[in-house]
Structure formats: C-alpha cells, structure tokens
C-alpha cells in the first residue's frame, strides 16, 4: 500500500511539474485569445534598441493613443545590446518585435516560426563609416581594420562579394577606437553615427550596405505563426495603429521626439531631429512610394535567402511566402 501511495505522489509531482512547464510555454495562447468587446487587449512590442527615432512611429502611435483606438493596451519595451527580441517573441513573452530581415531567416532556419509583417526601412540605414577620403567604394575596405557586430550577415556578404582581406574586429558600440585609427572602419546607422562623429570634429565618408547588394529590410516588425493563426484581429489592429503612427511621425517628429527623450534621456533632441530627417527617405522611399509604408517584396526576400544560403549562414531553403506577409498593411 505504502509503495503505491508513493508512486502516486511521484506521479502527481511529475504532472504538476509538466503543467507548470506547459503554463510557462503557453503564454502566447493565453494572450492570443480574443478580447471581450469594450476591453482593451494587452499586447507587447519589443524593439531592437533603446527608444530612438528608428522606432519613432510606434512611440507616436503610443503617445497619440492610436493603439488604444484600435482596442490595444500597448506596451513598447525597448531592447538593448544583450536582448534578443526574436527569442522574447518566440517564447511568447511578447507578441511583436523588431529585428533585421536576415534574423527572421536565421530564426526560421533554426525552426522558430517567425513571420515578418512589415518593414520599417526600405533601405537599411546600416552603413560602413570610414575617415574622410578613405572610403569611396567597397573595394577600399581592403586592408582596413573593420568593426562590425559579431555574426552580422551583411559583413560576411561584403567580404565574400568583394573578396576582401581585412582585420576583423568586434563592434563594441564605442567610437573611440575608430576615431583614433585613420585606417579604421566602423559599422553604424546613417541616422546617428555620422552626426555624432561630426559633432566630435571627425569628418567621415560612409557606404550603405544596401548598395553592396545586401538588400535586407532593416527593422522588420515580426510576430509568430501562432499569433497570426490564433488572433489575426490583434495583428491587424496593431499594424493599423503602427502604420498610422509612422505616418504621424513623418510629419510631426518634432512633437514626438520629446516623448522619445522621456523614454531614453541620453538622446539629444538635435540628434533625434537629424535622425528623423535622415530616415524619412529610407522609410518612405523605394517600394514604399508605390505600395505604401512597410511593403516587402517577394524578390528581395528570395534574394536575401539566396545570399544567406550561399554564405552558409542558413542551411534550409524555404518558400519565402511563409516568412513574410503584406496582408496586415494599409487597411
């Protein structure tokens, strides 16, 4: 009798543990359930950096209550250097995230079913910055000391495409080592670093990685297949407000920037002003001119996938229509 009892106890323990685990994994489903009418539905967006003009539209939508009008109680959580938005969204702790298009491909390759639902930047603001006169063409990168984020796909691509011999260094976010060395090249965002360097009296030249042929979509908004399946209304409502927010930010960035500064006091209003102006063409130009904000094309996703396959960063070819959708844009 005693033995059976202890088996039972053990069984209960095991089930309890597995339920706990299931509960922890089941976050998405819970919050994915459709909200009752009249009640705001909670949703969370994880960005890829501290609040800055590159996320301006979402903060605009937050400040102007566009999310509330769509029935969403929205939280925008800033990312940071050691925060992986893909993992947070994949684990169901947030419904939406910001990342680069290549990260969606990498995640899907590893079996994480993410789906891009809009691209902020038609042309990536990612640039390679050199000292004035040192960088006119990608071929000039040969022999330079180059600081790039560890594992970044675009840099592998450029090195292979231009057959470069360089001194590879890990990008740390600090510009000091770059300023010191006339032979150095650093990665950066056109919306920020050239301005900061100019303020420090350092004149620079820069090249868009986009122009090297690595035409990734920068700052893609993404969610998971589960969220789309369980709660397409939420995705639609979120994107309605987001698109509206970005259009608002285009025309009223000077009104929203102080709000961004509240969220990230380290930013100066001048820098944000510069950023907002620099990014406008990158966001609303290109395909967005014709198809509207956030549009993504089949060809570019396919091309990006091929480039990553060639570099052996991903291993499996997949139908690109599974990894992105324009369905939730501009309705």
């Amino acid at each position: 009798m005693g033995k059976i009892k202890s088996y039972k106890k053990f069984g209960v323990l095991i089930t309890a543990l597995s339920m706990l685990l299931l509960a922890a994994c089941g976050d998405t489903k819970e919050s994915g359930g459709s909200a009752k009418k009249g009640e705001l539905e909670k949703a969370k967006l994880v960005t890829n950096w501290f609040a800055q003009p590159e996320h301006g539209g979402n903060y605009a939508a937050l400040k102007q209550d566009f999310y509330k009008e769509e029935g969403i109680d929205m939280t925008v959580e800033p990312g940071g250097p050691q925060i992986s938005s893909t993992q947070i969204v994949a684990s169901g702790k947030a419904q939406f995230g910001y990342t680069q298009a290549e990260d969606i491909l990498i995640a899907r390759d590893k079996g994480i079913p993410l789906v891009a639902i809009g691209a902020i930047f038609q042309k990536s603001p990612q640039v390679l910055i050199g000292h004035e006169g040192a960088l006119k063409d990608f071929k000039d990168l040969a022999g330079k000391t180059v600081y790039t984020a560890p594992g970044s796909g675009y840099w592998e691509y450029i090195k292979t495409a231009y057959d470069l011999e360089v001194k590879d260094m890990a990008y740390t976010g600090s510009l000091a080592t770059f300023i010191d060395d006339p032979n150095a090249v650093t990665q950066g965002y056109v919306t920020s670093e050239p301005y900061v360097l100019d303020q420090d009296g350092v004149k620079t030249d820069y090249l868009f990685i986009h122009d090297a042929g690595f035409e990734t979509y920068a700052n893609v908004i993404f969610t998971t297949e589960d969220v789309i399946k369980d709660n397409p209304e939420l995705v639609q409502a979120f994107m309605n407000a987001t698109v509206k927010g970005w259009e608002y930010y285009r025309d009223h960035s000077d009104e929203i920037n102080p709000f961004l500064k509240e969220k990230n006091p380290d930013l100066s209003l001048e820098l944000m002003d510069y950023g907002a102006k620099e990014e406008e063409e990158l966001i609303f130009g290109g395909d967005a001119k014709e198809h509207g904000f956030g549009y993504m094309s089949d060809e570019r996703w396919t091309k990006l996938q091929e480039e990553l396959l060639d570099l052996e960063i991903i291993k499996n070819k997949e139908d690109v229509s599974k990894m992105f959708t324009n369905d939730y844009l501009g309705k």
């Binding site: 597995s18 685990l21 992986s84 893909t86 993992q87 994949a90 684990s91 990498i106 995640a107 590893k110 079996g111 994480i112 180059v146 600081y147 790039t148 984020a149 560890p150 594992g151 970044s152 001194k167 590879d168 260094m169 890990a170 740390t172 600090s174 000091a176 080592t177 010191d180 060395d181 960063i313």
Partner: protein, 270 residues
C-alpha cells in the same frame, strides 16, 4: 600483500569516481529524454547529443576559439602573478608603500570589470592587448592580497632571529618571508587562474578580434546572434572545462611545491 594494496587502491578510486559518475550519467539521461518528453524546442534547450553534434560540426572554429582564449588567459595570468607578487613584496617591505598603495589596489578590485573594460579598450585598442589587460586586471588583486597576507604572516620569531644574525632586509624577505608566504601565494594562484579565464572571455566579449581569429567570447556572441543554441552550449561548456583544467594544473603545482612540508597539501594518514 601487493594484491590487497592494489585492491584497496582500486576501491578507493571507485569510491571517489563512481558516485559523481552516476550522477553525471543520470543527469545526462534526464536532460536528453526530458527535452524529448516535454518537447522543449532545441533553440531553448538543446539535447546533450545536439551539443555534441554541434561541437563536432564546428570543431575547427571551436578549437581555434579555445586556443585563442587559452593563450590570452595564460598571458594575463602570468602577468597577474608576476605583478601581484612583485607588488606585494614591495608593499610588504615598506609600511609607507603599503599604506599608500593598498587603497588603490582595492579600488581596482571593487570597480566591476565590465565597467572598466570599455575604458581599457579605448586606451589600448581592441584586440589581444585589451583582452590580456582585462584578464590581468581581474586576476591581479587576489594574487596581490593573498601574497601580502602571506608575507605579513611570517613568524615574528624567525624574523627576529635573522635580524639578530644581521641578515639584510632582502635576505630575510628571500630566505624567510617568501617561503613562508608560499601557501598563501598558492591560494592566490588558485583563485587567479580561473579568474584569468573569465577575464579573457569578458575581454573577447567586449574587445574581441572578429572572424576566424576570435576567442570563445567572440564565438559565444556569434552563436547567440545566429541562434545556434547548441553551439552556444558547446562554447560555454568549453569555457568551464578550460577553467577546471587550469585549476587542476595549479592544484597539481601546489601539491608538488607544498606537498613535502605544508599541512594543507600533506597526505594525512587516516
């Protein structure tokens, strides 16, 4: 007689090795089949076999990374040993020196390494220099403070005796104080050697050389940005193995140096 002796030895070995081995095997089995049973996706928690496979697939990279990290940590470690012991000798030989320098040594220790690492990078540039200096900085203080305690703990009677024989200050240092401090120095070595590995990896994290020349810290950042969780585990495990091997080597050295005379390393008859 001999048979009994080896039998005893064998039993001792079994007693020491079997229990942790059983725990290890059980742990691995639970990990392997638990992840399958609860369907935990491999990007959150890979199975041990996934990790093994990832290490084999990325063997070339992993070996390079480990070699880089070993080199950086050994150089950093050697510097911190030399620096720590020399600084401690200087401080122990003059009270004024100790009083004026020790607060700064403590200051160096209390600033978190991740906070000063970016400054080190600004001063010495990215790459090997910065990594070695970070490894040195983190291993330096335990060496210094342990050695200093050791040097100051020398038997007064011995020093008085040698002073009576009119031995010079340096002779006393060399003949009495340093040998007496050896157990303390060894204790410092044991702490510093594992810290040097930590320091090297932190350094590579912050100031790493990229591409194929990166160490474990760089490999860890790449693996995590590419969502290669299994390889990430492989890197982490390699790092901890590295630390353990370092520690065991220093332990061996300590046994060899102190084994014949100091209580802490002498075999006790049970």
């Amino acid at each position: 007689m001999v048979g009994i002796k080896t039998d005893k030895k064998l039993r001792k070995v079994l007693n020491v090795w079997i229990p942790p081995l059983i725990v290890f095997v059980l742990f691995m089995l639970i990990w392997q089949y638990g992840t399958v049973l609860f369907q935990i996706p491999p990007y959150l928690l890979p199975k041990p076999t996934d990790i093994l496979q990832a290490s084999i697939e990325n063997w070339e990279n992993l070996r390079n990374a480990v070699t880089r990290t070993i080199t950086a940590s050994i150089i950093g470690f050697v510097f911190s040993v030399i620096g720590g012991v020399v600084a401690a000798i200087l401080m122990a030989s003059s009270k004024i020196m100790e009083r004026s320098l020790y607060p700064y040594a403590i200051l160096l220790q209390t600033i978190p390494i991740v906070a000063i690492a970016p400054i080190i990078v600004i001063w010495f540039g990215s790459g090997t220099n910065a990594i070695v200096i970070i490894a040195f900085t983190i291993g330096f203080f335990p060496m210094l403070s342990n050695t200093l305690v050791g040097l100051n703990a020398t038997d007064r009677g011995m020093i008085n005796l040698l002073t009576l024989y009119q031995a010079s200050k340096w002779k006393i240092m060399w003949k009495v104080r340093i040998p007496f401090a050896l157990p303390y120095i060894m204790a410092g070595l044991k702490i510093s050697c594992t810290l040097a590995v930590v320091g090297a990896i932190v350094g590579e994290y912050i100031a790493g050389i990229g591409g194929g020349d990166g160490g474990l810290g760089y490999a860890i950042t790449v693996a995590s940005s590419r969502m290669e969780t299994a390889y990430l585990f492989a890197c982490g495990i390699s790092a901890s193995i590295l630390g353990i091997v370092f520690f065991l080597l220093v332990n061996l050295l300590s046994k060899w140096i102190l084994g014949s005379w100091h209580e802490s390393e002498m075999k006790r008859d049970s």
